[in-house]
Assembly symmetry: none
Amino acid sequence: MSRPDKRHEIVNAALELIAEQGFHGAPMALIAERAGVGAGTIYRYFENKDVLINDLYLEVEKKIWSDLLVGYPMKKPIRERFLHLGTSLLRYFISHPLDFRYLEQFHNSPYGVAYRRDRILGKKEGCDIFRELFEEGVSCHVMKDLPLVILFAMSFGPLLAVMRDHILGFIRLDDDLIAKTGEACWDGVRR
Amino acid sequence: MSRPDKRHEIVNAALELIAEQGFHGAPMALIAERAGVGAGTIYRYFENKDVLINDLYLEVEKKIWSDLLVGYPMKKPIRERFLHLGTSLLRYFISHPLDFRYLEQFHNSPYGVAYRRDRILGKKEGCDIFRELFEEGVSCHVMKDLPLVILFAMSFGPLLAVMRDHILGFIRLDDDLIAKTGEACWDGVRR
Amino acid sequence: MSRPDKRHEIVNAALELIAEQGFHGAPMALIAERAGVGAGTIYRYFENKDVLINDLYLEVEKKIWSDLLVGYPMKKPIRERFLHLGTSLLRYFISHPLDFRYLEQFHNSPYGVAYRRDRILGKKEGCDIFRELFEEGVSCHVMKDLPLVILFAMSFGPLLAVMRDHILGFIRLDDDLIAKTGEACWDGVRR
Amino acid sequence: MSRPDKRHEIVNAALELIAEQGFHGAPMALIAERAGVGAGTIYRYFENKDVLINDLYLEVEKKIWSDLLVGYPMKKPIRERFLHLGTSLLRYFISHPLDFRYLEQFHNSPYGVAYRRDRILGKKEGCDIFRELFEEGVSCHVMKDLPLVILFAMSFGPLLAVMRDHILGFIRLDDDLIAKTGEACWDGVRR
DNA sequence: GATGAATGAGCGTTCATTCAT
DNA sequence: CATGAATGAACGCTCATTCAT
C-alpha cells in the first residue's frame, strides 16, 4: 500500500467510524484496525486524534465547497443562485451521507464550535459566496431585511434538517423533493 | 434532603454539566459532586448513566411541550397557531438555554437517534399537536403539499438554527426578531 | 485495609520499585500490583505519577532531617556537630537503603534538578542546619575558606559515595568505618 | 559519509541528547535525526539501544583515562600524583561537560551498576593507576589506613560533587578553585 | 548498505460502576 | 438508604525495533 493510500485508508476509517458511531465510538485502535494499519501508524500521518479530526473536517469541507461551485450560475438571478446552492448541497450529502454525518458530529462537539464561530464571522473563505449572495439579496430587496445570521439559519436550518431525515430513512429525497425543498427554503428568505 | 429533592439535584447537575461541557465533560463523579450527593447515590435513582441521560431528556421535553401548550390558540387560524408554536419555542429556549444546549448534545449522540426516529414516526405523544397542525394545513391547502417530515424540517430547522446562533452570541433575539423569524418560517411552509 | 494503610502501601511499593529498578522499572500498574491495589486507586491518593514521586521524595527527606536532628550536639564544637551529622546520615542510610537508592534515582532525574537548585540556594529549610554549621566553621577559621558549595560537596560527596559502595556490597560499613569515614570527611573540610 | 564517520555521528548525537535530556529525552529516532542517518541505520552499528549506550560509555571512559595519563608525574611523590589526577579530572570535565553529564546519567541507571561493580573489583583496566596509587599511599603510610573503596570514595565523591555544582552553575571553577578542591580532597585521604 | 515507514507492546491516566461500611 | 473508596477496562499516545525497498 502506497503512502497516500495508507493515509486515505486512515481518513476513511475515521470518517466511517465517527460518522456512524460518533467520536466515542471511534477509538484510535479501532480506526487503525479498520484502516488495516497498526495503531502507531496513524501518528505518522496525524500528530494526534484532534489533528486527525480537524484535518478530516477540512477535507470534507473542501470537497463540499468545490462541489457547490460546479455550475454555479454566477450571472443568473439571486433566486437561481440560491436554488443552485441549496439543491447542490442536498445532492452532495445524498451521495456522501458519511460526510454529512461526520459534519454533524463535528459541529456538535468542542471541535466544531470554533469553526462555527469563524464561519459566521466571515473568517472562512468558502462562505464568501453565501455572504455575497445574501448581502446582494438584501440590498436588492429580493430577500427579507433580516440579519445575515438569520438568513443563513433560514437556509441551512431546513436543508440540514431535511438531510437528517433523509439519512435516517424517514423520507427518500428524489429530484422532485429536492427541488421543492429548495423552493420552500427560498420562500423562507425571499421578500 | 428528601428523595425527590435528591433526584432533582442529580438531574439538574447533569443538565448543567452536559449542557455546558458536553457528555465528555460530565463524568458521574462530577455530576454527583455538583448535586451534593455521593457518587453511588446516583445509581439508586438511575440504573446507569444512559438511563440518567434519557430520563433527563424526557423531563426536558415534557417541560417544553407543556410550555408550548400554554395559550395555544386552538381555535385560531393555522397561521396563528403555527406562529404561536414557533415563537413560544424560541422564547422557551431563550429563557432556558441549558435545556436547548442539552437537547442539542442529546440529539447529536447515539442516544438521540432512537428518539428522533420515534418522534417522527408519531410514537411520541407530544408531537401530535404538530402533526395535527401540519396535516390540517396541508389538507386545507394553506400549507405546501409536502410530506409532513419536510414541513417539520422547514419549521424546526430554521428555528433551532437561529437559536444556536443566539446561544452562541452571534445575534441577540429580541421580540421583533423572534416575530420576524416565526414569520419567515411560516413563509417557508405556507402555500 | 484502612485509608492511611493503603496510601502507605502505595508509597512503599513505589519506593521499593523505584529504588530497585529506577523510574523506568516502576510503571504505575506495577506499583499498584505490588501495593495490592487497583491501578486507578493510586490516583485517589496522588494526582499523577509526578506528584507521587515528589511526595515520596519529600517524605523521605523529612524522615532524614528529623533523624539527623536527634541528639544533635548544638552546644558542642563544630567538629563534633559535623561528625554527628555525617555519621548520622550514614547510619540512617544503612538502616534505610531503599531511601538512599530512591534519593539517588530522584536527584538524577528531571525531578531532582529543581530540588538541588533550591537546596543549594538555601531555599530548603532543612538545609539551614548545614549552612549554619559551615558558615560558622568558616568564620571561626575552623574550616577551610572555601565557598559553601564546595564545603557541601567535600562533605556530602564522599559520604554518598561511601554509601553507594556499601549499598552495592563493596564494603560493609560498621561503626568503626563509619567513624573513620566521618573523620576523613572532616579532614577534607577542616583547616 | 564513511562508515566510521557515521558511527561517530551516531555516538555523538546520543551523547548530546542523553547528556542534555537524559535517557527519556533520547529516543532512537531523535538520535538518528540528529546524527543525520536513518533510524534503522543505528542498528547496523549497534545491536540495540543498550549496546549503544554501553559502547558510548566505554568510549567516554577511554577518553578520560587517556587524558588523565597525559603528564602523569609517575616519578613524583604520591601527593603530586594524586593532585594531578584530581585536577586533571576536573579540568577534563570542565572542558567536556557533556561527557560528565552523560556519565552521571549512565551511572544512575540500571546500565551503570554493573560497570561500577566491575571497576571497583578491579576488572576495569583504567583503574589500575588509581588502585596502585592508593595501595602505595596506604603501604607508605602517606594515606589513611582505610579500605581502598573508601579512599576512592573520599577522592571521587567530592570531585564529582563539585563538578555537578559547576555544571549546574552554582559555582565557577577557576584554576584557583580547582587547586584548592584538589588539596581538600588530598586532606581527606592523607594521613 | 542504508533507509524510514510501519509496528504493537506498553505507558500514564480516566471514569462508569460496585460494594463494604 | 447513602456513601465514596476502590476498581480495572479502555483510552490516547510513544518509541525500540523490524524489514521491504
